[in-house]
């Protein structure tokens, strides 16, 4: 296979890949299929066999037709439509070009068309698979460009050597229109041309070396692209979200819950906090069984507006004075929670409830009783907050398990407490019997089926919870693309969930159960926070990520409705208690189940995670994120490294570490790299001018006679060259005599005969300079130089 055939295959692959990228953006199968078929056919039929080739006129007409067709689409539609019209035009033109006989111009046009397709595709695509294909495309394009260049150079230098003008002595003098008699037998013209044929050159170029070269070029480009991408400053905080302006939503904690998802939710692995449970007295890790719940806030108001169901605390004023946390009760099992919260944009804190102040730091956090929220103590509650560590105490755990029932914080200790409790219960019973009639009927049927008495609130609540978990009618999913057909956007999302698609995530289940409980006269509210996490056995802590965000239900139980044994011996609940209900069935994609899942599931997780990274750091990289994730860390570390260079203690520590065998230190490494870069850069910048200055000074200091002598250095060089070949000037022999004798000796050898007159030429020049006082002009000096080289070459034969 020669270079051109390889180039043709490469260009066809490039064309197909470009259209595939475009097709992915358009979500069209037709274009990629058309392009792939055209690419394969063109290589076989047009390039290899040469059986079908569009001539230039037909190709031009076809291109014109394509422009007219696409032009109509271009001027009748919105911006996305116009983009698609441009994309289609590029594909049509590409197909037309593929079926023409290829020349340099066509190869280049195909490459450029393919590149433009990718440009358009970049505005249409959002998926991570585009990124993967883009990398593949880049390697193919680099190979195509490389092969195209080699092919062009070889054609110019190989089979048809470029000769600017055929050198022929007679042409200018030859009379017009007269036949030249054949008196002189030599041909009129025989241009000089390269000996290597295209095939030979092709053979010399192709091979693994070229493959390695292209691969290394691709890898270098990839590294450069990554650096450029993250380093190139962004100026805005809004980024392109596809031609439709859509962005893939993600799982994560929010203080309000909106039931409106239409797309697949991604699980964000962003770290939220690390939680360490410990025994209060001893401080040793508290062994926990089961999955812990950390509540952030509770929501009780539900509103359905504009096809969106929304849970909030809208009845509360926007800002309430906060209070200190209560001191922990005595004689109860207390567990301390040490929580390290990652930087957030909210002052809200999380904890297992009920929560009490740590004895050692009672003022560390604030509590707002009405909204039941914990806050970090800051003056300004807007903006971004750094990492925060806090400790709370809780009685939520008993014998290593989180209790399902915890006492109400209102212990009816003061006047007006009962009224406030009644008001709260009233709020938690809000139910729109019109809107959620079907749900109420369903709940009634469930309870009827379970034949539970009206007084058994606990049992009724559990029965309703069990319906969602165990009936098998509901399934957990984050992908709403899958249920798109079954959904009725005209219905309330909770009703739509319960009656139609029955597929959703925790917020849907919690919403449905809350409303089902309320329909049956059981006060209930939705709690949002985090559930579970990854337990780190080394550090004895839970690592909680955004993907662990969860919603569940808290049903209110009157004191007499609390089943015996659910509260601790020393625990009382005069104001009633909260029963935690979690109606969400097991998530088949839950990370906790990963160990049991197969390879495909694991792969799914990897893809999901990659998509997340892609969305976060590629598609969604804006000015703020860039500052936070790249500029700030780099600046901080660089600053630290430079600062460390001037810190004696740091040097002492470094040498101490080196002595103890800890040889790696990133600060030292960074400092070394910086230093070397500065050193090398300075050297390269400064050395050329310094060298020039020195040369100039040296030249100025040289006396005139030395400068004059240098002018006839060429004779010394002649003697040196001759001396190297055993020809020394005898004592008393003049340079000219020497040159003549050398010429004679050279003439004796056939291989050197042609150069026998060269020494004399140099010596003549020497005599003119040395004794005639002449100065060689530039051309003469160059001639002498060339003569010396010729002599050297001749003697080396």
């Amino acid at each position: 296979m020669n270079v051109e055939r390889l180039l043709q295959i490469n260009i066809a692959t490039l064309a197909a890949l470009g259209t595939l990228l475009l097709g992915m953006g358009q979500r069209s199968v037709l274009l990629p299929v058309l392009s792939i078929v055209a690419a394969v056919t063109s290589v076989c039929v047009t390039d290899s066999l040469g059986k079908f080739q569009l001539n230039r006129t037909v190709a031009n007409l076809a291109a014109l037709l394509a422009v007219v067709l696409s032009g109509r689409e271009l001027f009748h539609g919105d911006s996305e439509y116009q983009l698609l019209a441009v994309a289609n035009l590029l594909v049509y033109l590409q197909v037309i070009l593929l079926f023409q006989q290829k020349n340099h111009r066509l190869y280049w046009q195909l490459i450029m068309l393919s590149l433009l397709q990718v440009v358009v595709a970049s505005a249409l695509n959002l998926g991570v698979e585009f990124g993967v294909l883009l990398v593949l495309y880049m390697f193919t394009a680099l190979a195509a460009l490389c092969l195209f260049f080699v092919h062009r150079e070889m054609e110019q230098c190989g089979s048809a050597t470029r000769v600017e003008s055929i050198f022929h002595f007679r042409r200018s003098a030859e009379p017009f229109g007269r036949e030249r008699p054949q008196r002189w037998p030599l041909p009129t013209a025989d241009p000089l041309r390269s000996s290597g044929t295209y095939k030979e050159l092709s053979h010399a170029v192709l091979g693994w070396n070229l493959v390695r070269y292209v691969l290394s070029m691709g890898c270098t480009t990839l590294i450069f692209t990554v650096i450029l991408f993250f380093a190139m400053p962004r100026f805005g905080n809004t980024v392109w979200q596809g031609a439709g302006g859509e962005h893939q939503p993600m799982v994560g904690f929010t203080q309000e819950v909106a039931l409106n998802e239409m797309k697949k939710l991604l699980e964000s692995p962003e770290l939220v906090m690390r939680v360490n449970f410990g025994e209060v007295k001893t401080g040793i890790p508290y062994k926990l069984f089961g999955t812990p719940y950390w509540r952030g806030t509770v929501l009780w108001d539900y509103a359905y507006e504009g096809r969106e169901g929304k849970w909030s605390q809208s009845k509360l004023p926007a800002w309430q004075d906060d209070h200190r946390l209560a001191a922990p009760p005595s004689h109860q099992e207390l567990v301390q929670q040490d929580i390290a919260l990652e930087p957030t944009q909210d002052v809200l804190l999380f904890s297992a409830f009920p929560v009490y102040a740590d004895r050692d730091a009672p003022n560390q956090i604030r509590f707002e009783p009405r909204s039941r929220k914990l806050f970090r103590p800051v003056e300004n509650r807007t903006g971004r907050y750094g990492q925060f560590r806090y400790r709370t105490l809780t009685t939520a755990f008993a014998r290593g398990r989180q209790k399902p029932i915890v006492p109400h914080a209102n212990r009816l200790t003061h006047r007006g407490a009962q009224a406030r409790l009644d008001q709260e219960k009233e709020t938690l019973l809000q139910f729109d019997s019109e809107l959620h009639r079907d749900l109420g009927d369903l709940a009634a049927n469930i309870l009827q089926e379970n034949n539970l008495s009206q007084e058994d609130v606990f049992g009724r609540a559990r029965a309703l919870e069990s319906h969602f978990i165990n009936s098998g009618l509901y399934s957990y999913s984050l992908d709403f693309d899958l249920v798109g057909q079954q959904r009725d956007r005209g219905l309330d999302p909770i009703i739509d969930f319960v009656m139609n698609h029955r597929t959703g995530h925790c917020e849907y289940f919690a919403s449905a159960l809350t409303m089902a409980l309320r329909s049956q006269g059981i006060p209930a509210r939705m709690a949002v926070g985090y559930k579970g996490g990854e337990y780190n056995v080394v550090g004895d802590y839970y690592q909680v990520r955004q993907l662990h965000a969860h919603a569940w239900v808290e049903a209110y139980l009157e004191p007499h409705e609390i089943p015996p044994g659910y509260l601790s011996r020393n625990e009382s609940s005069p104001g009633g208690a909260w029963l935690r209900l979690d109606p969400t069935p097991g998530d088949p994609n839950n990370l906790a189940d990963v160990e049991d899942a197969g390879l495909i599931h694991h792969l799914h997780q990897v893809i999901d995670y990659t998509q997340l990274i892609w969305n976060e750091y590629v598609l969604g990289l804006n000015s703020e994120r860039q500052k936070k994730a790249i500029y700030h860390p780099v600046a901080t570390r660089t600053h630290g490294a430079i600062k460390a260079l001037f810190d004696r203690r740091w040097w002492a520590t470094l040498f101490a570490n080196l002595r103890s065998g800890e040889w790696f230190n990133w600060q030292a490494g960074l400092a070394t790299i910086l230093f070397l870069l500065v050193f090398v850069g300075s050297y390269r910048l400064v050395s050329p001018p310094i060298r020039r200055v020195f040369a100039w000074l040296r030249d100025r200091r040289s006396p005139a006679k030395y400068r004059a002598r240098r002018r006839v250095d060429f004779y010394s060089r002649l003697e040196t060259i001759l001396k190297c070949h055993g020809m020394r000037r005898a004592v008393g022999q003049t340079p000219r005599e020497f040159a003549i004798s050398v010429g004679g000796r050279m003439a004796d050898r056939p291989t050197r005969r042609y150069a026998s007159s060269l020494p004399r030429r140099i010596v003549d020049a020497f005599y003119r300079v040395r004794y005639g006082g002449a100065t060689l002009d530039r051309q003469e000096a160059q001639d002498v130089e060339n003569t010396l080289h010729q002599l050297k070459d001749a003697l080396s034969k």
């Binding site: 440009v119 480009t221 450069f224 450029l228 598609l619 022999q733 042609y754 160059q782």
Partner: protein, 393 residues
């Protein structure tokens, strides 16, 4: 040796940059991050190309190997050796341009540039390529300076380095074959000269060099100045004693607007003269004087040897015809220096009557030269009779 070193953007590079600008503009204005990725993927190869063209020609040396000598019309093979002195990184696709220029080329003759390519020169190794063809015109050709360039790997940028290594090649006149009739002609003219041969000649040959005195050397050969310097007797050494002297006069005349046949006659005359000289030098043992009347009058004189042959060939390769009549003056000067026993051959591109006393008045007025005129042979190249003496292959 290196001269000129610049990087230029090729036409494809400009197209590439236009597309890149378009993409960068889109990326900035619409804040499309995927276009930023694409920007990186385009800027990266462009910079890589720049980096590679810069590195590829570093520590690369290209040498040209010319043949020892050729005659017009012979196959010329020029070898080019590229040496990559780097320890790492092979050089790919190095295009070499070798301009060839003939000295004294006429207005209509353009400079010829031969292009060839080294597909790959591995690190620390050499590679060879060559180009071949035929140079039809005799003359002194200057090869170089070599222009080496590369655009590898993507052809977007091109770095060109000029290696100021020139070489000269003398393309000698085409050599033909002398016929036996020519030999007869010369032999006949030599009859009678034998007796006039000098047997005692002391300073008959060209000075060849100095050597130590040996027993039997004449005292007249002693080079006193050198002997004084060295403190030992040193004698001059001469070429072998000649037994015959030959003078070849080449009359390259052509009208101001020559016909093709007249142009051909010039070439044939030069070729004939070159062949005669080559023959005489091969035989050796004679003094040779070659005088040319063309655009300029030139002369080479010396003992018939390879050195003289080389000098004559160089002279003939650059000789050009003229419409002026230089033969009378040339003949006068040639006879002035020739000995009575010399053979004199006039090769002319036109019919020449040596008995024309008006044209050759200076010669005929001179008694000694007048005597010698009878020995002069005149050959007219334009006449078909030349074919009896000489044939070009």
């Amino acid at each position: 040796m290196l001269r000129g070193n610049h990087i230029s953007i090729r036409l494809e590079g400009w197209y590439f940059l236009i597309v890149l600008t378009f993409i960068v503009t889109g990326a900035i204005l619409r804040e499309i991050n995927l276009l930023v990725v694409l920007t990186g993927m385009l800027v990266g190869p462009f910079l890589f190309n720049w980096w590679m063209v810069t590195l590829t020609l570093r520590r690369i040396d290209v040498r040209r190997k010319l043949p020892e000598s050729i005659c017009a019309g012979d196959l010329l093979v020029v070898e080019l050796d590229a040496t990559n002195s780097r320890r790492r990184l092979a050089s790919w696709a190095i295009a070499v341009q070798d301009p060839i220029h003939r000295e004294g080329a006429g207005f209509g003759e353009k400079r010829m540039v031969v292009s060839t390519m080294f597909p790959r020169v591995p690190a620390g190794q050499s590679a060879t390529t060559s180009y071949r063809g035929r140079l039809i015109q005799r003359g002194r050709y200057t090869f170089g300076p070599l222009r080496i360039s590369t655009s590898f790997p993507l052809g977007l940028l091109c770095r060109t380095v000029v290696i100021n290594r020139k070489a000269q090649l003398v393309v000698c006149p085409r050599l033909g074959q002398l016929t036996p009739k020519w030999i007869d002609l010369i032999q006949t003219r030599m009859v009678g000269n034998q007796r006039t041969r000098r047997r005692h000649g002391l300073i008959e040959g060209d000075f060849y060099g100095l050597r130590d005195w040996r027993s039997g050397d004449s005292r007249r050969w002693i080079h006193w100045r050198t002997s004084a310097k060295r403190g030992a007797l040193t004698v001059r050494q001469f070429e072998q004693q000649q037994n015959q002297n030959t003078t070849v006069l080449l009359d390259l005349w052509q009208p101001s607007r020559p016909t093709q046949r007249q142009l051909d006659n010039v070439e044939i005359a030069v070729s004939f003269a070159a062949t005669v000289v080559a023959d005489l030098c091969r035989r050796g043992g004679s003094q040779l004087q070659v005088c040319v009347a063309g655009k300029s009058t030139t002369r080479v004189r010396g003992a018939a040897s390879m050195v003289v042959q080389q000098e004559v060939m160089e002279m003939l390769s650059g000789t050009m015809a003229s419409h002026k009549d230089g033969l009378p003056e040339l003949l006068d000067r040639a006879l002035d220096r020739s000995r009575p026993e010399s053979r004199t051959v006039v090769i002319s591109t036109r019919e020449t009557d040596l008995s024309d006393t008006e044209r050759f008045v200076q010669v005929w007025d001179h008694p000694r030269k007048r005597n010698v005129m009878s020995q002069v042979v005149c050959l007219d190249v334009s006449a078909d009779e030349l074919d009896e003496y000489f044939q070009v292959e």
